[in-house]
């Protein structure tokens, strides 16, 4: 194996051991809902919240 590649692997392995695996939030809960695809602008969001609170 190319020594520079091996060095990178070692460095990444070392970092992973220290930092661990990053926790991932499911895309379904973070930004995968259909509401995220529909409300895309600040104006839409403001209008939406206004309507929601007036219901």
């Amino acid at each position: 194996m190319n020594p520079s590649v091996q060095e990178k692997i070692d460095a990444l392995t070392e970092r992973a051991k220290k930092e661990g695996r990053k926790s991932k939030t499911s895309s379904a809960t973070r930004n995968g809902s259909s509401l995220h695809r529909i409300i895309r602008t600040k104006e839409q969001a403001e209008a939406f919240m206004k309507l929601l609170k007036s219901c």
Partner: protein
């Protein structure tokens, strides 16, 4: 069954959090399109909403949203809400949102339903008891907060 409330709100709706549920796949990610057989669906859905209530008790200003990932599933949720309306209404304000999400359904189900050209805006609507909604134009998203 895994129930997960997002740790981050909607990017623009700062107090709307998504509540997702379903069986976890091999990577632990919720599969909200899985078809499950439960002896008592109402009990399953009540458990999910109870989780939501516990969360809202700790976060009273928040709204929780449930995505009806397909028209049939959204209809199922709506039936649960109606069936248990009196009980749920004691704890929650319930809202439904219809929008032209059908165009965002890619793949096999994209053209399952006709487009509803009246639903071009995401307008939340309060869900009332015995409210009749045509199953073909069912709410796509449900939002609730604490009474």
């Amino acid at each position: 069954m895994k129930i997960e409330i997002s740790s981050e709100p909607h990017r623009l709706l700062h107090n709307v959090y998504n509540l997702a549920f379903g069986p976890p796949d091999v990577r632990g990610k919720i599969d909200d399109k899985a078809e499950l057989q439960h002896s008592n669906y109402s009990k399953v859905f009540s458990t999910i909403l109870f989780t939501g209530l516990t969360y809202l008790n700790s976060n009273p200003g928040h709204f929780l949203g449930i995505d009806g990932s397909s028209n049939s599933r959204a209809y199922l949720y709506y039936r649960f809400l109606q069936k248990n309306y009196d009980y749920l209404n004691r704890f929650f304000n319930l809202f439904g949102i219809k929008y032209y999400v059908r165009v965002t359904r890619f793949g096999k189900t994209q053209y399952d339903d006709p487009f509803d050209f009246q639903d071009v805006k995401a307008i939340p609507e309060s869900i009332e008891k015995k409210m009749i909604v045509d199953p073909k134009f069912m709410f796509n998203y449900f939002i609730f907060n604490k009474n």
